[in-house]
């Protein structure tokens, strides 16, 4: 069973190259209490502050919060990219993350070459590369565009390729940033279908989003981040009314 355990996690970004004499730049951060100095007089921006939670297999978690609340930082930390200096992370399971549509893809390479690259990154055995390639091409419906460089793709095509690649590897933990629901109707149906499959196998799905539709449809748990703190942790019924300042019936009514 995949599992994510995070305990007292702090993530802070050192500011080395900023001109700290430019007070205007840092006043905002300072006022919100996210700018700290450590004993070496180095200046940090705190991205995440004292976050603790446990996510078990089968949970579909929605991450909400304003821009800059730390959603992407938390997703990256759970992908094992930012290693914590304070706090602990324990993750069991194969992770796949779709942090942005072109994550890990090279716009100069063709679609097919990007599929190969992704296979190498994920250590897909040589014999299976062909199989993955066919499946991704089938899912992304790119047709002959698959042999064109990615920079000639529309954002929708990029999205289909990226999504197809991230989910074909059959992840146990899928981390996604909100961009993925921006595709057309046909894609959303297909993507939803694929996500359903992942969730059915009692895997973990974590989506960072602003859309109440997705949260209601997909998530059975919500983590609300605010200024780097975990403000609330609960079911959509508990949290969404507070977050959107509307009764729950009204939110579901709109969607």
């Amino acid at each position: 069973m995949p599992n994510i355990t995070i305990k007292n996690l702090y993530i802070s970004f050192p500011l080395y190259h900023e001109n700290m004499r430019n007070l205007r730049k840092v006043t905002n951060l300072f006022l919100s209490g996210r700018l700290n100095e450590d004993e070496h007089r180095k200046i940090y921006v705190q991205g995440l502050r004292n976050i603790s939670f446990i996510i078990n297999g089968g949970e579909r978690v929605g991450l909400i919060g304003e821009n800059g609340a730390g959603k992407t930082t938390l997703l990256r930390t759970m992908s094992g990219i930012y290693e914590p200096v304070i706090g602990n992370i324990h993750i069991k399971g194969h992770i796949s993350s779709l942090l942005d549509p072109s994550s890990g893809m090279n716009p100069e390479l063709t679609g097919r070459e990007n599929i190969h690259l992704k296979c190498y990154i994920n250590n897909v055995p040589h014999k299976q590369i062909k199989e993955v390639e066919e499946k991704v091409i089938e899912f992304s419906e790119l047709g002959s565009y698959i042999d064109f460089p990615l920079k000639t793709y529309s954002s929708g095509m990029n999205l289909r390729l990226g999504f197809g690649l991230a989910t074909i590897i059959d992840p146990q933990i899928l981390l996604m940033d909100e961009w993925f629901m921006t595709g057309d109707e046909g894609f959303i149906i297909k993507a939803s279908h694929r996500l359903e499959n992942i969730v059915k196998k009692s895997q973990i799905l974590i989506i960072s989003t602003h859309s109440p539709d997705i949260l209601i449809k997909w998530c059975n748990r919500i983590l609300w981040l605010d200024q780097g703190f975990l403000k609330m942790d609960g079911t959509p019924q508990e949290i969404l009314p507070l977050y959107l300042n509307k009764p729950y019936d009204e939110i579901t009514g709109i969607s």
Partner: protein, 282 residues
């Protein structure tokens, strides 16, 4: 096999948190080992860099060979004339030297930005950081292979047979090890301190002139052992001497391994201290 789920589905675990220096050192060594195990990805990334650079060009990567050929021809004939050296001796020497220099110089200059160039990849997937060092080494090695054509042409025209090849095996191993170390070291420093690339660039400029590359060691009139203070000199000599059949004193090998050891100890220390900080810096 075919009815099995095609994609491996084991459960890896990831434990991250603040650890002691000894633990960090273990993680750093593991990073280097895992990076080495990903040789398929490393080669692929390095090869793609070259492929993309020359995509759409008619001669493609053979421009590398042509540019190097004209450079060596110019330097070879000009300096053979200026320094009153026999072209038959000088041209093979200078072609090996310049090509090795070209490798090490562009490797070191590229190293400054190995992590910031791969920013998107680093911030989207967890991979060993040594992968990015190998990427640069492989792409520079491919350039070296193209340049090797020039050496072969020079040797054919002058009808010179390389003295020996098997002595090049330990030299190549040392070059690969040193390349990895210097790439990681300069990569880390260049990511953390934005002033490193220009500093490195000026040091390399100086090294080009003070190292016997376009001039031969027998042109200096003081004790030649002082030249061993220049870490690049033994490194060049262990490749040049076996091919050209020059006498190679054991001191040179001792110096070459000594410098490599110092370099590796520094790198393991720096990499252990900073590995987990790299994504925060880019």
């Amino acid at each position: 096999m075919s009815d099995k789920n095609p994609i491996v589905n084991h459960e890896p675990t990831l434990d991250l948190g603040p650890v002691k220096f000894s633990q960090n050192m273990k993680l750093a060594l593991k990073d280097i080992a895992n990076g080495f195990a990903k040789w398929r990805l490393n080669c692929h990334l390095g090869w793609l860099d070259i492929k993309l650079r020359y995509r759409g060009s008619i001669l493609g990567p053979f421009w590398i060979t042509i540019i190097m050929g004209s450079k060596i021809a110019t330097i070879g004939f000009l300096y053979a004339y200026l320094l009153h050296i026999n072209i038959h001796d000088y041209l093979p020497y200078v072609s090996i030297s310049i090509i090795l220099w070209n490798f090490i110089n562009s490797l070191i200059m590229d190293s400054c930005s190995i992590f910031s160039n791969s920013e998107k990849l680093i911030l989207s997937t967890r991979l060993p950081y040594s992968v990015y060092a190998w990427r640069t080494i492989i792409s520079n090695f491919l350039i070296l292979l193209h340049n090797l054509v020039v050496i072969i042409i020079v040797f054919c025209i002058l009808k010179i047979v390389p003295y020996t090849f098997y002595l090049l095996i330990p030299s190549s191993v040392l070059w690969v090890l040193d390349s990895l170390a210097i790439c990681l070291l300069i990569g880390i420093l260049g990511t953390r301190f934005k002033d490193v690339p220009p500093i490195v660039s000026s040091i390399m400029q100086a090294l080009f002139f003070i190292t016997p590359i376009i001039w031969k060691i027998n042109l200096i009139h003081f004790d030649k052992n002082y030249m061993l203070l220049n870490p690049l000199y033994p490194l060049f000599e262990i490749v040049r001497s076996p091919i050209l059949g020059d006498h190679l004193s054991p001191l040179i090998w001792i110096a070459a391994t000594g410098y490599s050891l110092i370099l590796w100890i520094t790198v393991i220390f720096v990499f252990s201290k900073t590995r987990f900080r790299i994504p925060y810096w880019i």
